[in-house]
C-alpha cells in the first residue's frame, strides 16, 4: 500500500482491515499502543481540514465493501463503510433506487467518507444531506469498541442519535464500520433547463420565484455566476408541468436573458466541468450564508482571479469558490474574506477552506473561528477519545 498523507502529514503505517472485526481489532491495538490513527476511505478529501497533530497509522476502509442487508421493498440498505458510491449506485439501480448524495469521483469516494465529511451536492435541494438519509450506524470507538446507533427502519427515536453525531465529525469521534440509509426511488423522468442571467439580483429573484411558484426541483445550481441549472425528477407529467412553469413563467418573470432545456446528462456535465478545473494546490472555499444573501458574490472580495465554473446553490445558501493561486499574503486574505462574509451576513455566515496548498498549512485555519458550542464539542471528544488518538487536531477548534 502506497504512502498516505492527510492534510500534508504522512502516515508511518497503513493497515487495511478485511472485516469489521479486523477493523475493531486494529483500532484496539493502536489504542493499546497509544499510536495516533486516522480512517481513510477513497482518499478523495485528504486535503480537507487542518493538519493532524499526530499520525502514526492510517486505517484504510476500502476492503470493507460489502452489502450487509438490502431491503429494497422497504427502501433501506445497510452497507460497510468502504463501499464506493459507484458500487452502491449499481446495487441500488438494479432495484430502481438511489442514494441521492452528489459527490465527485464516485468510483473512489466511499460511504464512510461521505458520511464523515457530510458531503453534499446539488440534489441537497430535494433530498437533504446525509443527515436526512442516514438511519443507522455501526461505529468503532477510538478504544476499539464496536457500537451501534439508530437502526434499519426509516423512523426511529430510540436512544441518542449516534448516526447524526458521526455525520460530518470527520472521523474524530471514531471510525464508521457500516451505515444504514433510507434510499429513494429513481425518478421515472428527469428533465432540466439552464437559465442565463446578467447580474446577481436577477439570479436571486429567479431562485426565489422557483419557491414561490411551488416547484419542487431536485436541484438548483448556479455555475460560473450566470447559468442557473434547474432539474426536476418525478413522474413524466409532473416533470413536464414543472418545466413549463419554469420556462414560460419563472424565467421571463425573473428577467432571464435566455432559457433552454438541457438534454440527457447535461446537468451532470456542468458539475464535471467544475471538477475538471480542480488542481492540487488550488485554494477552495465553501461560503455558507443565509439563503437571502447571494453567497456566490461574496468570494469576489478575494483579490485573485477565480477559476472558471465555480458552483453555488442559491436556495441553500452555499457557494463554492475556487482560486488557482492566492498571493503570498493568503492568510491575511482568508481573514479578510471571513470578516467580509461576517459583515454581509450579520455574523451568520461562515467560510471553510476546503483545500489549500500544503505550504499554507499552519498559517490558515481551515475552519475559521469555532462556533460558541466548542466547549460541548470538546467534551464529546474527551469522552469518546480521551487520549486524543483519533485524527487529532484536524477538525474545528483542534478537535
Amino acid at each position: 500500500m502506497s504512502a498516505v498523507s492527510i492534510a500534508g502529514v504522512a502516515a508511518r503505517n497503513v493497515v487495511t482491515p478485511r472485516s469489521v472485526e479486523e477493523l475493531a481489532r486494529a483500532v484496539g491495538e493502536l489504542h493499546a499502543a497509544r499510536a495516533p490513527f486516522a480512517f481513510v476511505g477513497g482518499a478523495t478529501h485528504l486535503a480537507l481540514g487542518n493538519a493532524p497533530r499526530a499520525l502514526d497509522t492510517v486505517i484504510r476502509t476500502v476492503a470493507l465493501d460489502r452489502v450487509v442487508e438490502y431491503a429494497a421493498e422497504d427502501q433501506t440498505i445497510t452497507v460497510e463503510a468502504g463501499m464506493t458510491l459507484a458500487e452502491l449506485d449499481r446495487v441500488l439501480a438494479a432495484h430502481g433506487q438511489m442514494l441521492p448524495v452528489d459527490v465527485a469521483d464516485r468510483e473512489r469516494a466511499t460511504v464512510g467518507g461521505v458520511v464523515a465529511t457530510n458531503a453534499f451536492g446539488r440534489r441537497r435541494q430535494r433530498y437533504g444531506t446525509v443527515k436526512d438519509l442516514i438511519v443507522g450506524v455501526t461505529i468503532v470507538r477510538p478504544d476499539g469498541t464496536l457500537a451501534r446507533g439508530g437502526g434499519k427502519v426509516v423512523k426511529n427515536v430510540a436512544g441518542f442519535d449516534l448516526p447524526k453525531l458521526m455525520t460530518g465529525a470527520l472521523g474524530t469521534l471514531g471510525g464508521i464500520a457500516s451505515v444504514t440509509f433510507r434510499v429513494h426511488p429513481l425518478p421515472e423522468a428527469r428533465r432540466a433547463a439552464a437559465l442565463h442571467f446578467d447580474g446577481s439580483d436577477a439570479i436571486a429573484r429567479a431562485a426565489r420565484a422557483i419557491v414561490e411558484a411551488r416547484l419542487e426541483p431536485e436541484s438548483v445550481a448556479l455555475y460560473n455566476y450566470d447559468a442557473l441549472v434547474v432539474s426536476f425528477g418525478g413522474t413524466p407529467r409532473g416533470v413536464e408541468e414543472q418545466m413549463r412553469t419554469l420556462l414560460d413563467r419563472v424565467a421571463p418573470g425573473a428577467g432571464a436573458g435566455a432559457a433552454h432545456e438541457l438534454v440527457d446528462d447535461e446537468p451532470e456535465s456542468y458539475e464535471q466541468r467544475e471538477r475538471a478545473v480542480r488542481r492540487d494546490g488550488d485554494w477552495r472555499f465553501t461560503v455558507a450564508a443565509p439563503p437571502a444573501v447571494p453567497s456566490w458574490t461574496l468570494g469576489s472580495f478575494v483579490a485573485a482571479a477565480p477559476l472558471a465554473v465555480p458552483v453555488a446553490y442559491p436556495l441553500l445558501g452555499v457557494a463554492l469558490h475556487a482560486y488557482a493561486a492566492l498571493a503570498a499574503d493568503a492568510p491575511r486574505q482568508c481573514v479578510e474574506l471571513r470578516a467580509h462574509v461576517a459583515a454581509q451576513t450579520d455574523g451568520c455566515g461562515n467560510v471553510t477552506v476546503t483545500a489549500m496548498p500544503d505550504a499554507a498549512r499552519g498559517r490558515v485555519d481551515a475552519w475559521g473561528d469555532p462556533p460558541p458550542s466548542l466547549p460541548l464539542m470538546r467534551a464529546l471528544k474527551a469522552r469518546f477519545d480521551p487520549l486524543a488518538l483519533c485524527n487529532p487536531g484536524r477538525f474545528v477548534g483542534g478537535l
Partner: protein, 495 residues
C-alpha cells in the same frame, strides 16, 4: 444523591421563596394541591409530585433556575404541554420541574430565508397558522399538534402523519438555544437559515434527547412552501392483511405519498362512535392517504396509488369531494386516541416501528397476543413509515388488567424488535420504554450513548431517570441481552 426537600410547610415555603425570587411569586409553585397538575404527562398511570414547579419567562430565567437547582443539588425535569405519551415529563422524586408554557412567542418569521424563530412553549399548529396566509407551513404534524409545544417536539423528535414525505422534527430544526445542566446558555447550529457552521451536529444530538442534554429556550425551524395541491384517498379493506399489502405495494413501487395512515376495525368503530363520521363499520381496515406536490404529479401519483389499492383488494376507494370532507377525514384520524378513550376506560399505547413490508404479518401477531390475553387491541397508525400504534384496551378497575395490558404492550415491542424494528418511532423512550431499550441495544451501544449524555450532563441532573434502563427502574431485569447484529453474522465478537 439529590436531597428531597421535606414535605414540611417550612421547607416548602423556603424552597418556594428561593425560586420565586427568580421567576416571580406566582410562577413558582410548591403547594401540594397546586402541584397535582404536574404529577404526570400523557402517560397516565404513573404519578410523582415534583418538589417545586417553576414557570420562567426567558432564557435567562431558565438559566437562573437551573443554576439554583444545581446549588440545591436537585434534579431538573423540563415540561412543555405535558402531552407526551412515554412519560418523558414524568417528574423525578424531589425535582425542580421547569415548565416552558409561558415562553410562547413566535419571535420572528423570515420568509426570504424560509425560517421562523420560536420559543419552546409555542404550540406546533400555531406556527403553521401564522404562516398560512403567506402560503407556507411547518411540516411536522403530530396528532396532538393543536396542543403540543415545539419544545416538547424537539425533546422527543416528534413525527406525525406527513413525516413520511417531509421528515421528522430533526429534519426541520436548524438551530437551537439551550440551557445546559450547569446553567450555561449556548447556541447550536444555524442562526438565520444558513447551513450550520462546521463542527459536530449538536442540534441533531439534542433533538430527540428527551430533555437529558439541555433545556431548549429558542428554536429556529425551517418553514416550507405549501404544495400546489393535495389529493386524498380513502380506501376500505376486508382485513388488515389486504390493507398492509396495499401499503407494501405502494412503498415498494417507489411512490412517496405525503402520508398513509391505517385504522383497523376497532379503531374505526371508536372513531365513528366519537365523531359520527360516515365511515363504514363493516370493514376490517381502512387507509387514509395524502399525495401532494405540483398538480400533474399529485394526480398521476394518486391514480397509481388507487390502482395499487384496488389490486391489493380494496372494497371501496373514495376521494373526498371537497376540502371540508378531506379535513373531516383527517380530523377523524387525529381524534383516534381520544375516541378509543371513549370505548374503553383505559388503554396503553405503544409506538413500535417495523419494516413497511411486514405490516400484515406483524398485525396478525399483535391480534394473536390480544386474543391470548383476552384484551382488545385497536390499531391506528402511520402505516407509510411502519410506525405502529397499538392501543391495548383495559379496565383499571379490574384487578390485574392494567398489569396484563402493560405486559401485552411490552410483548408487542418484542415482536417489533424481532422484525428488525424499533421500540419507538416518535413518542420517545421516556419512562415507559426504558426497560426495553436494553433489548433493542447492547451494553456497548448504551454505554456509547451515555458518553454523549455525559458530555452534556456529567452530573446526570437533567431528566435523570429516563431512557436508559437501570436496575432500579427495571428490577433485576435490565433487558435481555440481544446479540449485536455483527456478532450474529459472525463478523465480530466482543473483546
Amino acid at each position: 444523591m439529590p436531597v428531597a426537600p421535606e414535605a414540611s410547610a417550612d421547607a416548602e415555603r423556603a424552597l418556594h421563596a428561593r425560586f420565586a425570587a427568580l421567576v416571580g411569586e406566582k410562577n413558582a409553585i410548591a403547594k401540594p394541591s397546586e402541584l397535582r397538575t404536574y404529577e404526570c404527562d400523557g402517560l397516565l398511570g404513573y404519578r410523582v409530585r415534583p418538589a417545586v414547579v417553576v414557570l420562567p419567562a426567558s432564557t435567562a430565567e431558565v438559566a437562573a433556575c437551573v443554576k439554583l437547582a444545581r446549588e440545591l443539588d436537585m434534579p431538573v425535569v423540563p415540561r412543555g404541554a405535558g402531552t407526551g405519551l412515554s412519560g418523558g415529563a414524568l417528574p423525578t422524586e424531589g425535582c425542580v420541574m421547569i415548565g416552558l408554557s409561558r415562553m410562547k412567542k413566535i419571535l420572528s418569521i423570515d420568509l426570504p430565508n424560509r425560517v421562523a424563530r420560536v420559543q419552546p412553549g409555542v404550540i406546533n399548529l400555531d406556527i403553521t397558522r401564522a404562516l398560512a396566509s403567506d402560503g407556507y407551513f411547518y411540516a411536522p404534524d403530530p396528532s396532538s399538534q393543536s396542543v403540543c409545544t415545539i419544545g416538547g417536539n424537539v425533546a422527543e423528535n416528534s413525527g406525525g402523519a406527513h413525516c413520511l414525505k417531509y421528515g421528522f422534527t430533526v429534519n426541520h430544526v436548524l438551530g437551537l438555544t439551550i440551557v445546559l445542566p450547569d446553567g450555561e446558555i449556548v447556541e447550536l447550529g444555524s442562526r438565520a437559515g444558513e447551513p450550520a457552521p462546521p463542527g459536530y451536529d449538536l442540534v441533531g444530538v439534542v433533538v430527540g434527547s428527551e430533555g437529558m442534554t439541555g433545556i431548549v429556550t429558542e428554536v429556529l425551524v425551517r418553514v416550507l412552501r405549501t404544495a400546489e395541491c393535495t389529493r386524498t384517498l380513502f380506501a376500505t379493506f376486508p382485513s388488515t392483511d389486504e390493507a398492509g399489502d396495499a401499503v407494501s405495494r405502494i412503498i415498494g413501487s417507489g411512490i412517496v405519498p405525503a402520508a398513509i395512515e391505517m385504522c383497523d376495525a376497532l379503531a374505526i368503530e371508536a372513531i365513528v362512535a366519537a365523531t359520527g363520521i360516515d365511515w363504514p363499520l363493516d370493514v376490517g381496515a381502512l387507509l387514509l392517504m395524502d399525495v401532494d406536490g405540483v398538480l400533474a404529479e399529485a394526480d398521476e401519483i394518486a391514480e397509481r396509488a388507487e390502482a395499487h389499492l384496488r389490486a391489493a383488494g380494496a372494497i371501496e376507494v373514495r376521494v373526498p369531494k371537497d376540502d371540508a370532507e378531506r379535513a373531516l377525514a383527517w380530523k377523524g384520524r387525529k381524534a383516534a386516541f381520544a375516541a378509543v378513550g371513549r370505548i374503553s376506560p383505559n388503554y396503553h399505547v405503544q409506538d413500535g416501528v417495523i419494516p413497511r413490508k411486514d405490516i400484515a404479518p406483524v398485525l396478525r401477531e399483535i391480534a394473536a397476543l390480544g386474543a391470548a390475553s383476552g384484551l382488545r387491541i385497536a390499531n391506528v397508525f402511520h402505516a407509510g413509515d411502519g410506525n405502529l400504534h397499538p392501543l391495548v384496551l383495559y379496565d383499571a378497575r379490574v384487578p390485574g388488567q392494567e398489569h396484563e395490558a402493560e405486559r401485552v404492550a411490552g410483548e408487542i415491542l418484542r415482536v417489533c424488535l424481532r422484525y428488525g424494528g424499533s421500540v419507538t418511532g416518535e413518542h420517545g423512550v421516556g419512562h415507559d420504554k426504558a426497560c426495553y431499550l436494553g433489548e433493542q441495544f447492547g451494553p456497548d451501544d448504551l454505554e456509547t450513548m451515555q458518553l454523549v449524555r455525559g458530555a452534556f450532563d456529567p452530573e446526570r441532573r437533567f431528566n435523570p431517570d429516563k431512557v436508559f434502563p437501570t436496575p432500579r427502574l427495571c428490577g433485576d431485569r435490565p433487558g435481555a441481552y440481544v446479540p449485536h447484529a455483527i456478532e450474529l453474522s459472525g463478523e465480530a465478537g466482543r473483546g
